[in-house]
């Protein structure tokens, strides 16, 4: 009995319960509880939210017209009228970075969504109906996956020509095989679940079963993939624009801003390289942290 007593530790019930999340009531406090367990994820979330807000309220935050040129302020140093300086055409760097967030966000979200939707459809058809369709789709996927994301996007962008829509298409196509593969794999296991059989016994058609019963059960890994993909899409857009294949002039794209200045002005006006580069790094950092946290929360296999 004596040893028993030493093993039993005094328990603060309130502390134990709050650690277990017992006082989590609304979705707001549930979020707080999650944030407490994933502090890095919270940082990522804050960065992404700030990024989205900046993009949304760009006209309010920008001090100048991002497209207005001014020979007088060409290559102006940071400070004074231009907080972060101005480029060789005299355009305000701060305003261009703010508006650039819009381009990055639009390309990132649109290409991720387009890629995921097409990928999900392809994966679902391939996994649920199988047969020769599956065989053909999988071989095409193999070919697409064999090429690096950037190379594939480069080829796409080069053949489509530079424009916002084409950039989105070029970035979303390489996403398709990844999403399709993930959806197909879960579809293969979900379609054998008894509830699919039960839905058939209920008189439901195959298409409806696939959409209503199978698809929702395969989405969790795609949400993880999509969050990670967001950062990668933004980076790819910057890379494409850096290479002159992305967003055309005069729209402010972070990647283009880097490429315009990197060669000629990196010594004379380093702020033209530093600030857009920081913006890209910060957003990628944020989306990656958020992606990791989302994976930890949604994927029980990754939990320690």
């Amino acid at each position: 009995m004596a040893t028993m007593r030493t093993l039993v530790q005094p328990v603060d019930h309130a502390v134990e319960l709050s650690r277990a999340g017992a006082n989590v009531t609304g979705s707001g406090s549930a979020l707080l509880h999650l944030a407490g367990r994933h502090p890095l994820g919270l940082i990522g979330l804050v960065i992404v939210v700030v990024f989205v807000l900046v993009a949304a309220f760009a006209p309010l935050l920008a001090t100048h017209d991002p497209l207005a040129t001014n020979a007088a302020t060409s290559l102006a140093a940071p400070g004074g009228q231009h907080m972060l300086g101005a480029d060789f055409m005299g355009r305000d760097l701060w305003s261009r970075i703010i508006y650039g967030a819009r381009i990055s966000l639009a390309v990132g979200i649109a290409s991720t969504v387009v890629g995921c939707v097409i990928g999900a459809a392809v994966g679902l058809v391939s996994g649920y109906w199988g047969g020769w369709v599956d065989l053909v789709v999988q071989r095409v996927n193999d070919v697409l996956q064999a090429l690096p994301l950037l190379v594939l996007a480069l080829v796409m962008a080069a053949s489509l020509g530079p424009s916002l829509t084409n950039t989105i298409i070029a970035i979303s196509i390489p996403v398709v095989p990844h999403v399709a593969r993930v959806i197909r794999a879960s579809t293969l296991s979900v379609r054998e679940m008894p509830f699919v059989e039960a839905a058939r016994a209920e008189g439901m058609g195959e298409l409806q079963i696939a959409l209503r019963h199978v698809l929702p059960n395969t989405l969790a890994p795609v949400i993880v993939l999509a969050t990670a993909q967001l950062g990668s899409a933004i980076l790819t857009e910057a890379s494409l624009s850096f290479l002159g294949l992305g967003i055309p002039e005069p729209y402010p794209s972070w990647g283009r801003m880097l490429s315009e200045s990197a060669a000629e002005y990196v010594r004379t006006a380093p702020w033209l390289v530093i600030f857009p580069g920081l913006a890209i790094s910060l957003v990628i950092f944020g989306t990656n942290l958020l992606g990791d946290a989302v994976r930890d929360v949604l994927d029980p296999r990754e939990r320690s």
């Binding site: 679940m193 008894p194 509830f195 016994a201 209920e202 008189g203 439901m204 929702p216």
Partner: protein
């Protein structure tokens, strides 16, 4: 049609004279595999009257579930094929209607409850949404609100407390017994004529089993649904069914009224199944009798009686010739060369493991 269903059977007692709702005749469901033809269901016939409970009993792999899936036209194909027979639902042969017509039958006129309440419900949809599903598929005249109200009503019918709240919950928030109740609510939501319950209590706790069986029987009495109860548990059969079919290796080996069957089984396999039920009143401390051996591979059945290799009564004739399936007493059928001996001797020769 659906409106008629409710009134039709509710007043009808479970009488023998009631017309047959479902007739299965010479059903043959075979699987064509690399190892040869697997005769999962071979020449199975039975009929089911309104409000009746028919039990299909047998070990795993004897063809019970494939019989059920054949009735619903859900045999996985390939490799499965229904190669012969007829399944008549009030005169219409379901094996000869197209897929679309068959979809209108499933869940509407013939429903099914599955063994595993844990995995037979979709984890990402609420209980209410899943009950509403069958209603929106078949009762197209109902409005959204009516469908929702009916789903809650069904949950109440299967005695789930706080049905409004439960309808909004997900399967993982319910206990096993509750989930099986929800499955029953789903299956009965369109007032089917026939309910196929495939091992409905196997995955449940013993204390819950009795409740679920009682619930199925009570609802059957109230709604007049005919029930096909698939089980391997003769204890469940004794409590619930009026008539019993014993299947072995894809074939019917015995069929009788439940009392006649328990009183005097006319097939050694049935006796073996009964010998393996523990008796509370029995004062002996002997081991339970077991049937030696296993169900033979269905693609390599012996030429004679499929049960012969495991049967203590087996003779050379059993091993060489398939015994005919015939009526030995009124309403009592059996396929055994020794049925007569089993019938005359009140205490037939002991089984292996007995005494």
């Amino acid at each position: 049609m659906p409106g008629e269903t409710a009134t039709l059977a509710a007043t009808e007692p479970a009488a023998k004279a009631a017309p047959a709702v479902l007739e299965v005749e010479g059903l043959k469901t075979w699987f064509f595999t690399r190892g040869g033809i697997v005769r999962a269901v071979d020449d199975v016939s039975f009929s089911l009257s309104e409000g009746e409970t028919l039990a299909i009993v047998g070990e795993s792999g004897c063809g019970k579930s494939i019989t059920a899936l054949s009735i619903l036209g859900l045999v996985p194909s390939p490799p499965g094929r229904i190669v012969g027979g007829a399944v008549r639902l009030r005169g219409t042969d379901l094996l000869r209607v197209d897929e679309e017509a068959m979809r209108r039958v499933r869940g509407n006129e013939i429903s099914m409850i599955f063994q595993e309440p844990m995995t037979s419900l979709n984890p990402v949809l609420t209980i209410g949404a899943q009950i509403e599903e069958a209603l929106t598929l078949h009762q197209t005249a109902l409005s959204r609100a009516e469908v929702r109200a009916r789903a809650v009503e069904m949950l109440q019918l299967v005695r789930i407390p706080e049905p409004e709240r439960r309808a909004k919950e997900y399967p993982h928030q319910l206990s096993g017994g509750m989930r099986q109740r929800a499955m029953i609510a789903m299956a009965l939501s369109c007032n089917p004529r026939v309910l196929i319950a495939d091992e409905p209590t196997t995955a449940l706790d013993v204390t819950i089993q009795a409740q679920i069986l009682e619930l199925i029987l009570d609802l059957q009495r109230r709604l007049g649904t005919a029930v096909i109860l698939i089980t391997h548990d003769l204890g469940v059969v004794a409590e619930t069914a009026q008539r019993v079919i014993v299947m072995y290796a894809g074939r019917k080996v015995e069929e009788a009224e439940v009392f006649a069957l328990f009183e005097q089984p006319l097939h050694p396999y049935t006796r073996g199944l009964m010998g393996s039920i523990p008796h509370l009143v029995d004062e002996t401390t002997e081991r339970l009798a077991e049937i030696p051996g296993m169900v033979p591979a269905l693609n390599a059945l012996p030429p004679g009686c499929a049960f012969a290799p495991r049967c203590t009564m087996a003779t050379d004739r059993c091993r060489a010739e398939m015994p005919p399936y015939r009526e030995w007493q009124a309403g009592h059928f059996s396929a055994c060369w020794h049925a007569e001996a089993l019938m005359t001797g009140r205490s037939p020769p002991p089984l292996a493991g007995e005494g």
